[in-house]
C-alpha cells in the first residue's frame, strides 16, 4: 500500500506540529470530509480530555472506587480506533496517525498510573483490565506497523535496483558498474522523511506504553537485515578463516580490495546514515540510541575484523606490505564513524589494526633480511647496478607513499638499540620512527654493496660499481620528495661526496699511470730528447690505452648523465696531456722508420675512443683500428 503523493503537502504543514492537544483541537475535526469520523473524533477529543482530567485527579492515598462515566467507554473507543488503523495502516494520513498515537498514549498513561494505585474495587479493576488489553492490542499493531515501515523501504530499494538492472541490456560488466554507481550515489538508509516522522511517532508511543523492548527488537532486526542485504549486494558474505588462508594471494588481493571499498563505504555513508536514522527515530532516548547503534555497528564491524584477522594469518611476504597498510588505514578511518558506540568496539578495531601493523613491521623486516642474506659470490658483470639495489630502492620508494602510516606502525614497536650516529641533528630522523627504519635499510644496503664491490679484483671496476649503485640510490632519493625529506639533507650531501670520491678513485686507478707515461720527466737525457725513451713512452701509452679501451668499453654506466660526466672528465684529463705530449714529441719520432708503430693515436682519436667507454659493449665488438 503506497502512500498517496498528494499527502506530501499536507504533511509539510503538519510535520512540525507539536503533539499538543490544544493544537489538535484547533485543527477542527469538523473540517474533515467524512461526517462519520468527525463525530467520533469529536468524542475522541473530548474523551481524551476527560481521561487527562481523570489521571490528574488520581492520588495515591485516596482509594479509587469508580471510573467516571466520561472515561468509562474510553478503552472501547480506542479499541475501535485500533481496528480502524489495522485495516488502513499508519503512514497514510498524518492526522489520523497523530490522533491514534495520542489515544494510545492516553490509554498507556492511564494504565500505568492506575497500576501504581491500590485497587480494591472491581469496576476499577475491570476497567483497568479492559484498558490494558486494548493497550496491548494497540502496541502490537504499532509494532507491526513499525516493522512494516522499516522493511518497506528496503523492498522499495531492491525493486529500484532490479528495475535498473533490467534497463541495462548490455553485457554484465556494465551492469555491475551501473549497480556500483547507483549504490555509491544512494544515501543510506533510504527513508522518505514522512516515514521517518511516522517511525518516530510510533517509537515514542511504544516507549510510552512500556513496550520499548519490543520496539528495539523490531528496529534491530530490521536494520540488521538491511545491513546484511547491503553488504551481500556488494559481495561481502560470511567468510571462513580457513578459506581466506587457502586461496592464493592473487585472489585474496581482490577480496581485500573489495573489503577496503566496503569498509570505506561504511565509514563514509552507512554508519553515519545509521546514526542519523537512530537519532531521528529515537530522539529522546539517548541510552537506547547508543545501545541500538552500538549493537548494529558492532555486528557489522566484527565481520570486517574477522576478515582482517584472517588475512593477517597468511604467510608473510614482501608484496603484501602495501595491502596490509591499506587495510590498516581503512580501519583507522573507520574509528570516527563508530565513535558513538561502545568503547569495546573501538578497542577491537585498534587491536585488529595492531595485528596488521605488527605484520607490516615483520614484512618490512623481511626487506632487511633479504638484503643481509643476499651474499652471492658472483659479481654483476660490467659493474652495473645490482638487482638488489633496484629492488630495495623501488620498494622503499613505494613504501614512502605510506610514510605516515608506517610511522604510526613503527612507533608502536619497541626499538632495538640504536647506534648513536651523526644523524642526530636531522629533525626528521629524530621524530619519525619510519625514517629510522629506512635509514637502517639503507645502511644495510650500503654495507652489502661494499662487500659486493670487493668481489671485483680490478679496483677501477670496483669504483665504477660503487658509482653506479650510489648514483642509482641517489637519483631514486632525489626523485621523490617524501624520501628526500625523510633521509634529510645531510645524508644526501654525504652520498654526493662519496660519489665524487669514487670518481676520483677511478681516475686515479685507471688513468694515473697513463698520465705518468706522458710525464716530461726523464725524456730528456743529457739535454737531448731520448728517442728510445720516447718510443718506449708512446708504446706504453698505446698498450695501456688499448687495454683500457678494450676492457672498459665492456663496462656499464647506466646513468646517462654520469656516463657523460665520466667521459668528459677523462677527456679533460687525458686529451690535453696527450695533445701537448703529442705535439711536442711526435716530430722526434716522425723522422724515423715505422713511426706509425709508435704514434698510434691522433689526439682526436683519443676523444673518439674515450666515447666508447662504459657502453657495455661485448668484447668482440671493441672497435678495431682500421
Amino acid at each position: 500500500m503506497e502512500k498517496p503523493e498528494n499527502h506530501a503537502t499536507e504533511s509539510e504543514t503538519n510535520a512540525h506540529k507539536p503533539d499538543d492537544e490544544s493544537e489538535q483541537q484547533s485543527h477542527n475535526p469538523t473540517e474533515t470530509p467524512e461526517s462519520e469520523s468527525s463525530s467520533s473524533e469529536l468524542s475522541l477529543t473530548q474523551a481524551m480530555e476527560a481521561v487527562d482530567g481523570f489521571i490528574q485527579s488520581l492520588s495515591s492515598t485516596d482509594p479509587l472506587l469508580e471510573i467516571p462515566p466520561s472515561v468509562e467507554p474510553f478503552p472501547e473507543t480506542v479499541d475501535s480506533l485500533v481496528s480502524k488503523m489495522e485495516s488502513s495502516g499508519l503512514g497514510r494520513d498524518e492526522t489520523e496517525d497523530s490522533a491514534f498515537i495520542l489515544a494510545v498514549n492516553r490509554i498507556s498513561k492511564s494504565v500505568m498510573t492506575l497500576r501504581e494505585l491500590r485497587l480494591d474495587s472491581t469496576p476499577v479493576s475491570s476497567w483497568l483490565n479492559r484498558a490494558s488489553s486494548v493497550q496491548n492490542r494497540a502496541a502490537s499493531l504499532l509494532d507491526e506497523e513499525f516493522r512494516h515501515l522499516l522493511d518497506r523501504s528496503r523492498e522499495k530499494k531492491n525493486k529500484n535496483h532490479n528495475n535498473n538492472a533490467g534497463d541495462v541490456s548490455s553485457d554484465s560488466s556494465t551492469h555491475e558498474t551501473d549497480r556500483c554507481v547507483l549504490q555509491e550515489e544512494d544515501t543510506f538508509p533510504d527513508f522518505p522523511p514522512e516515514s521517518i516522522s511516522t517511525l518516530k511517532k510510533i517509537a515514542g508511543a511504544m516507549i510510552s506504553a512500556g513496550y520499548e523492548a519490543e520496539c528495539c527488537m523490531s528496529y534491530e532486526m530490521s536494520r540488521r537485515h538491511a545491513f546484511k542485504e547491503e553488504l551481500s549486494e556488494v559481495g561481502f558474505e560470511g567468510i571462513n578463516v580457513e578459506d581466506v588462508l587457502r586461496i592464493p594471494w592473487e585472489s585474496l588481493e581482490g577480496e581485500i580490495a573489495n573489503w577496503i571499498s566496503i569498509v570505506r563505504r561504511c565509514s563514509a555513508v552507512l554508519f553515519p546514515g545509521e546514526l542519523s536514522l537512530c537519532t531521528a527515530v529515537f530522539p529522546d532516548a539517548a541510552a537506547t540510541r547508543k545501545r541500538l547503534f552500538t549493537g548494529l555497528v558492532s555486528a557489522v564491524t566484527i565481520r570486517f575484523l574477522d576478515f582482517s584477522g584472517a588475512v593477517v594469518l597468511t604467510k608473510r611476504s614482501s608484496e603484501k606490505l602495501f595491502k596490509f597498510l591499506d587495510m590498516y588505514e581503512t580501519l583507522r578511518d573507520l574509528i570516527p564513524a563508530v565513535e558513538q558506540s561502545d568503547s569495546d568496539l573501538i578497542e577491537e578495531i585498534k587491536l585488529a589494526q595492531t595485528r596488521l601493523g605488527e605484520a607490516a613491521v615483520t614484512i618490512f623486516g623481511e626487506l632487511e633480511n633479504s638484503i643481509k642474506t643476499d651474499q652471492g659470490r658472483t659479481a654483476v658483470p660490467s659493474g652495473a647496478v645490482h638487482p638488489l639495489t633496484r629492488y630495495t630502492m623501488n620498494y622503499l620508494k613505494y613504501a614512502c607513499e605510506y610514510k605516515d602510516t608506517l610511522d604510526q606502525v613503527f612507533q608502536t614497536e619497541p626499538e632495538p638499540e640504536t647506534k648513536p650516529n651523526q644523524r642526530e641533528d636531522d629533525e626528521e630522523y629524530k621524530v619519525s620512527a619510519f625514517a629510522r627504519q629506512m635509514i637502517k635499510v639503507m645502511e644495510l644496503l650500503d654495507a652489502n654493496l661494499e662487500v659486493k664491490s670487493r668481489l671485483y679484483r680490478d679496483p677501477a671496476l670496483r669504483s665504477i660499481f660503487l658509482m653506479n649503485n650510489g648514483r642509482y640510490i641517489l637519483q631514486k632519493i632525489k626523485g621523490s620528495t617524501e624520501i628526500r625529506d625523510l633521509m634529510g639533507q645531510a645524508w644526501t650531501r654525504k652520498r654526493s661526496t662519496e660519489l665524487r670520491q669514487y670518481h676520483k678513485s677511478y681516475q686515479r686507478e685507471t688513468w694515473g699511470k697513463v698520465l705518468q707515461c706522458m710525464n716530461q720527466e726523464g725524456i730528456q737525457v743529457n739535454g737531448k730528447v731520448s728517442k728510445p725513451v720516447l718510443k718506449e713512452r708512446f708504446k706504453v701509452f698505446n698498450t695501456m690505452f688499448d687495454e683500457i679501451h678494450k676492457t672498459q668499453s665492456t663496462w656499464i654506466v647506466s646513468d646517462e648523465q654520469m656516463q657523460s660526466e665520466l667521459r668528459v672528465s677523462i677527456a679533460a684529463l687525458v686529451i690535453p696531456a696527450y695533445r701537448s705530449f703529442f705535439g711536442r714529441y711526435k716530430q722526434h719520432i716522425d723522422s724515423g722508420r715505422h713511426s706509425d708503430k709508435y704514434v698510434k693515436y691522433q689526439p682526436e682519436d683519443i676523444e673518439t675512443y674515450i666515447d666508447d667507454l662504459f657502453d657495455g659493449n661485448p668484447p668482440s665488438m671493441a672497435r678495431k683500428r682500421t
Binding site: V111, D243, L245, E348
Partner: protein, 380 residues
C-alpha cells in the same frame, strides 16, 4: 573489561620473562630442565581438568559459569604451551616438530571459525534473553494486578521464544511460513515476531559452513604421537598432542553448548589412559555425551544449562498462561508470581554472565591468532 587486558601482559614481555627463566636454570642439565618442563605441563593440564570434572555436578556441567572456567583453563594451558615452544624454538623448524606444529596450527585455525560461529549463537541467546525480559516485565506483579493485556504481551513473547529456540532442523518450515506471510504485505494475524529469520542473520561463517564437519576436521587423524616422533622431537611431540586434544575438547564443548550452524557432536574423541589428564577429560566427555542423549535435551539447540532452564521455565509459564481465566484467583496469581521468580533467576544468570562469556570466547580467538602470528613472525 576490554579484551586487550589479557594481551598487554603477555605480548613482547614474554621474551624477557622466558629469557630470565632460562638464565636462572642455567646450572641444570638441559635434558632435565626440559623433562621437568614437559612434565609440569602435563600436570597442569591434568589439574585443570580434574578440577573441572569435580565441579561438573548435575547443575553445573555446561553452565555458563562452568564453560567459562573451561575457557580459562584453555587459556592457561595455551600460555604454558606457548612458553614451551618458545623455549625450544630451535627445534621447531626441524622434523618432526615442523610437521607436528604446522598440524597444530592448522587445527587451531579451524577453531577460529568455531569461535566465530559461537559468537552468532551467543547473539541468538541474547535475543532470547530480551524476550524473557519482556515476559518478566509484563508479568511484574509488584503493581497488582496482572491484566489481560500484560498476559497477552507475555504470551506473545513466550511464543516467539519457543519458536526461536526450536532446533535448526525443525526451523525451515517456520522460516518459510514467516517469509511467506511477510511477502503478503500487511498481515493482521501474524502477530508473532518471526524469529526464524533471525537465524539467517548469522553471517560470521559462510552459508555452507558446518560445525559438525569442522569438529570432525579438527579431530581428523588426531592420534597419540608415535614413539619415533616423540624420540626425534625430544619429547616435544607430547605437549603438541596434549594441546591439540585440549583444543579439540574445548571446541567440542562450545559446539555442544551453544547454538551454531549445523551443530553435530559426532566426533571420535579418545585419549589413551596413560596421560594424566585423560581420565578427567574422558569423564567429562562421557558426561556431556550422556547429557546430549537425554530425552528432554535431545533436540535442543544447545546444551547450555541456562538454555534448558529458560526453555523449561518459559514452557511452564506458557502452559500456565494458557490455563488462566479472568479474573485471576489468588492462587493463580501466586503461581504466576512463582513462575516469574523462577524465570528471573535464570534470566539474571544469563544477563550477568553472557557478556563476560562472549568476551572470553573472543579472548580465545585472539590468543589463537596471536600464537599463530608469533610463529609466522618467528619464521621470518
Amino acid at each position: 573489561m576490554p579484551a586487550t587486558d589479557f594481551q598487554g601482559s603477555f605480548g613482547r614481555s614474554l621474551l624477557t620473562l622466558r629469557r630470565d627463566q632460562v638464565d636462572s636454570s642455567h646450572h641444570h642439565q638441559p635434558s632435565t630442565t626440559m623433562e621437568v618442563e614437559l612434565d609440569s605441563f602435563q600436570r597442569q593440564v591434568a589439574e585443570k581438568f580434574i578440577d573441572l570434572n569435580a565441579s561438573a555436578g548435575e547443575n553445573n556441567l555446561l553452565s555458563l559459569d562452568w564453560i567459562s572456567k573451561l575457557l580459562d583453563s584453555f587459556l592457561c594451558c595455551q600460555e604454558e604451551f606457548r612458553a614451551i615452544i618458545f623455549n625450544h624454538r630451535s627445534q621447531i623448524s626441524t622434523p618432526p616438530m615442523d610437521r607436528l606444529l604446522s598440524d597444530y596450527f592448522e587445527r587451531s585455525i579451524k577453531a577460529l571459525d568455531v569461535c566465530n560461529a559461537i559468537r552468532d549463537g551467543i547473539e541468538q541467546i541474547r535475543q532470547w534473553q530480551k524476550l524473557s525480559d519482556i515476559v518478566i516485565s509484563a508479568l511484574d506483579s509488584s503493581h497488582r494486578p496482572v491484566g489481560e493485556g500484560q498476559l497477552r504481551r507475555a504470551k506473545k513473547a513466550l511464543i516467539d521464544l519457543a519458536i526461536g529456540m526450536l532446533d535448526e532442523k525443525d526451523h525451515s518450515s517456520t522460516t518459510n511460513l514467516s517469509h511467506r506471510n511477510r511477502s503478503f504485505g500487511r498481515v493482521k494475524d501474524n502477530h508473532h515476531r518471526s524469529f526464524g529469520h533471525f537465524r539467517s542473520l548469522s553471517w560470521s561463517v559462510s552459508r555452507s559452513w558446518s560445525a559438525s564437519k569442522q569438529l570432525q576436521a579438527l579431530a581428523n587423524n588426531l592420534t597419540n604421537p608415535k614413539p619415533n616422533d616423540v624420540a626425534a622431537s625430544n619429547g616435544l611431540a607430547v605437549p603438541v598432542y596434549t594441546m591439540t586434544s585440549v583444543l579439540l575438547f574445548v571446541m567440542w564443548v562450545l559446539v555442544a553448548a551453544i547454538p551454531c550452524q549445523d551443530r553435530g557432536l559426532q566426533v571420535n574423541f579418545f585419549v589413551p589412559r596413560h596421560y594424566q589428564w585423560a581420565v578427567p577429560v574422558m569423564s567429562l566427555h562421557d558426561k556431556i555425551v550422556e547429557e546430549s542423549k537425554r530425552r528432554d535435551r535431545k533436540n535442543c539447540c544447545g546444551l547450555l544449562k541456562e538454555i534448558g532452564r529458560i526453555e523449561k521455565s518459559s514452557r511452564v509459564m506458557n502452559e500456565l498462561i494458557d490455563s488462566i481465566q479472568f479474573p485471576l484467583s489468588e492462587e493463580r496469581e501466586s503461581e504466576v508470581k512463582q513462575r516469574v521468580e523462577e524465570l528471573v533467576e535464570v534470566h539474571e544468570g544469563l544477563k550477568n554472565g553472557l557478556d563476560p562469556f562472549e568476551r572470553k570466547v573472543r579472548e580465545v580467538f585472539h590468543r589463537i591468532v596471536r600464537s599463530r602470528t608469533e610463529s609466522l613472525d618467528s619464521l621470518c
